[in-house]
Symmetry: C2
Amino acid sequence: MNKDKLDRRIKNTKQVLKNALVKLMMQQHFSTISVKALCELADINRSTFYAHYKDQTDLLHQVEEEVMDNLRRYLDKVLPESLDNKAPAFVMTRIFEYAKENSELFQVLLGENSDYLFQEDIIELSQIVSSRNNDNTLDARTKDYIKEYRTAGCISIFHKWLKEGCVEPSDEMSNLVGRLL
Amino acid sequence: MNKDKLDRRIKNTKQVLKNALVKLMMQQHFSTISVKALCELADINRSTFYAHYKDQTDLLHQVEEEVMDNLRRYLDKVLPESLDNKAPAFVMTRIFEYAKENSELFQVLLGENSDYLFQEDIIELSQIVSSRNNDNTLDARTKDYIKEYRTAGCISIFHKWLKEGCVEPSDEMSNLVGRLL
DNA sequence: CATTATAATAAACACAGTGTTGGATTACAA
DNA sequence: TTGTAATCCAACACTGTGTTTATTATAATG
């Protein structure tokens, strides 16, 4: 999209900063990570950082956006037709698969050292898929609570799976989640 | 316990710092809160802060511990016999009640601007209560996932309820949570 | 390959928060 | 009322921030 993506130097700068961010976020909350620490780990000059990002938060958000874009692109490619018609379990399996391929990244962005933006994006994406209403003897308020309960539960299972090395196959996980809902 | 609790000056210092912390954590992640900002809001000298706390994290953890201690004391007082024998729903209702009385505090400590220590304490407490195993046709791993799903879901309902002003009565909430489990 | 454009670097800057100190003040408990 | 101790105040060196300037290195292009 932007021209600057074409220059190898810029591409490299962004890449090493992304790696440094992930590495540090494995250990500490992102808001305690200094620009200096990022640059030292990435082995770039601090002024180079400021040439591309406003601050740490800006870097994190750009990384989050990039990951979401790539995930959406991946789903577009791998899912034959429009999302809505597809079986939720099938879509979910693809998401698990993609996350597995980018395990550290997802682990960090969904974890307690990140902010909640990425989590919200994932929730939004996955709710397009599995937006089946159920029991309508319940009032709206109760439904809200149930929705809250379920999404938090799913995210936390997702995160646990990533954190522990994606041992179970993707379709098994998507199956488990499907049964819980 | 400690003598220092008896001096009004110390009591006051800790109180105003606690208030300042809660107020600031309503707006920003605790790790971005400076000692300076806390002291200015609490209207105390910065060296006074360091006389009592190592840093912001120390303050947060002391507050968390204090809240947990008070909660346990409250439960001891309000529950006739030992916890184990009591009906889980009854205990849970008491927890909701106590949280409602300290709404801002619980809201902040359970929210996304805090660390996960308090959340873990609450989970630990509530799992003493509702540790009923279920279906043993399931393997251990699946059970782990289900447990993860449930606790995350419960905490998030709890937090939602606090964040939105504790509208529903405590027993109704504990009932809802009980049915979901 | 040589030229041109621009990204990255290095060094310096004022500014803000940190954690600590020593001495003056103030408020407390007894 | 008096001795004790908590608080305040001012100063300290230190670290990270965000910006600027001139210089060097490297990529894109003809």
